[in-house]
Symmetry: D2
Subunit: 188 residues, 4 copies
């Protein structure tokens, strides 16, 4: 597997959301040209950049100044002017209104779900990216409590593996990545 | 799993590329605001619409007039003016030049690889969406012959399953989708 | 996928442990000719029969008289004289001593873990077959509390899918089984 | 994941069949107390030992004297007297008659399929363990040509991953094994 040119320009500091997971977010929310997205925390800003690349605007919350700086530099490297990195604690609230997508990729994400609900427009999507089953349970419970439509909440796991395509034969690679995080989708 | 609002507006006629596979294409090529994409065959035009939603322009080749009509209607339903559906055989060549992405989703895709190479800009991506191992072998061979960089060719399989998150417990769904197509990426 | 002749003779009443999961139990415990196994609950007795087929003795606990009868008949159909089905609540204790394997396939399995520990010989294996993450957590906690070696406790998921091997190509089947239960192994 | 005590005694020299794959063979053929099995090539003899542990007799073919010696020593370490390792080329034929199971784990396995058919009893099983799609195609074709029942031939892939069950949460392990070999089953 090779990262696209776009990502090769970026530095990889703190934890990043991988292309495969960005792909699921893009696909199951269908954000696009007109969409405004918020994500927290920024980490290295990869997700903000990938969203900025396909959307009108991407705002990224990160309370650590040093990480925010990495994310900002990455947006510059990607040549994106529509990515804004805010040094701010998402648990204190989201400034933006009527956004199309909020992605929460941080511990205790469930505590920011009500803020996400407040920031989203009707029909907008919330995504939680969480590695553990117990976190997903809490996140889903918070979504229901905050008013997200129960019948629209779902959680997926996506497993991407490389296939070796050689003259001596076609086969999956022997070893590889089995898990990053579960992705939970909710809709306002 | 629920389709996003964007896709619920579309009709599902002939074979479609599913969100999970569109997500991989978006993620591993990082097409965006400025990108021009070509895909063939259109089928119901879902891929063209999903690409049109995040890119500058999406051109879709379909030799069957009836399918092309379905795809065109779907682009209208999606409110996309940057999606063009051409009733044309992709095996006869691609009109566009300097495009960022060509996606081939049709039998004998390997026979259109040289046309894709000709249409792509330097650094542009070709994606083959093929269900069978033997097709992937032929496609990869055609990529090498047509001049795509060998070290940038790779093939993935992505398996997406739903997790059931209920009060009585967290678990994967019992049954579900195991395979759509393998995705092969090549770079000019 | 086809069941082996051995299983085709058996009736399928209440929930059964599938061949793929029996296979993992056989493989990761390596019970054999000289082994004595206990399982609870019997369900249709498939696991007891498959264990009886490779071990010296298999004793199966089932508190429902009607299920026990189905399991007994299945052992007869399989021509096994070393399978004993007891109408007994495993939560009240296990009569056997120095057994090589105990498999718990029932709700609240964690409540029978201490009984399993008491019944096992040193070096013997306990297996918990549980569909939900939360059940696995409780089961693992009970194993640690009951004296099973912490460094030998592990949990696996096994996903078996069918590959279609046809003249028109090799590919995974489109749909299929994604989840039965997680398997937790512990060692006395 | 931990290997069972039984396997920890064995040396690991040339390529071995892993417990997960032995488990599938045991489960989908249901060999047991009364069964006679043949496998080729022996490699380190792990499969022969695991089969010997649950069956009446296991005969293992290996043309390399040095590998055969490793396999023999492993059978001794396992304390198995019913495992016989023959220094013989399986492509020259199988001596045994009316066997219950033949497992072929070697390159060009399709060339030994007719010998396997000749050695098996009616209702007996052939298993091919092959890493590549193209090998599986050839193997399945050879099974059909040799007289195995077409409707009983099937191929599976089994993916086993470890789940991390910790106080801070339940999740799949990040990385791990994705592929060993495809398993093809045929029945006489």
């Amino acid at each position: 597997m090779k990262y696209p040119e776009f990502l090769r320009k970026l530095k990889r500091g703190p934890q990043v959301i991988l292309p495969k997971d960005f792909g699921m977010i893009a696909a199951f929310t269908c954000v696009g040209h007109e969409s405004v997205c918020v994500d927290a925390g920024s980490g290295s800003g990869w997700l903000a950049c990938m969203l900025g690349n396909i959307c009108k605007k991407a705002v990224s919350y990160e309370w650590r100044e040093d990480f925010a700086e990495i994310a900002r530099k990455n947006a510059e490297r990607a040549g994106l002017k529509n990515v804004e990195v805010k040094v701010k604690d998402v648990f204190a609230g989201i400034d933006e209104q009527d956004v199309d997508l909020v992605v929460l990729d941080l511990a205790d994400a469930e505590k920011a779900v009500a803020h996400a609900y407040a920031a989203l427009k009707k029909g907008g999507s919330l995504v939680g990216y969480l590695p553990h089953a117990e976190q997903v349970q809490k996140f889903v419970a918070a979504c229901k409590e905050s008013g997200f439509k129960e019948e629209e909440i779902f959680t997926i796991e996506n497993m991407v593996r490389e296939m070796l395509v050689r003259e001596r034969g076609f086969r999956p690679d022997t070893k590889g990545l089995w898990h990053t995080g579960y992705l939970t989708f909710a809709k306002k």
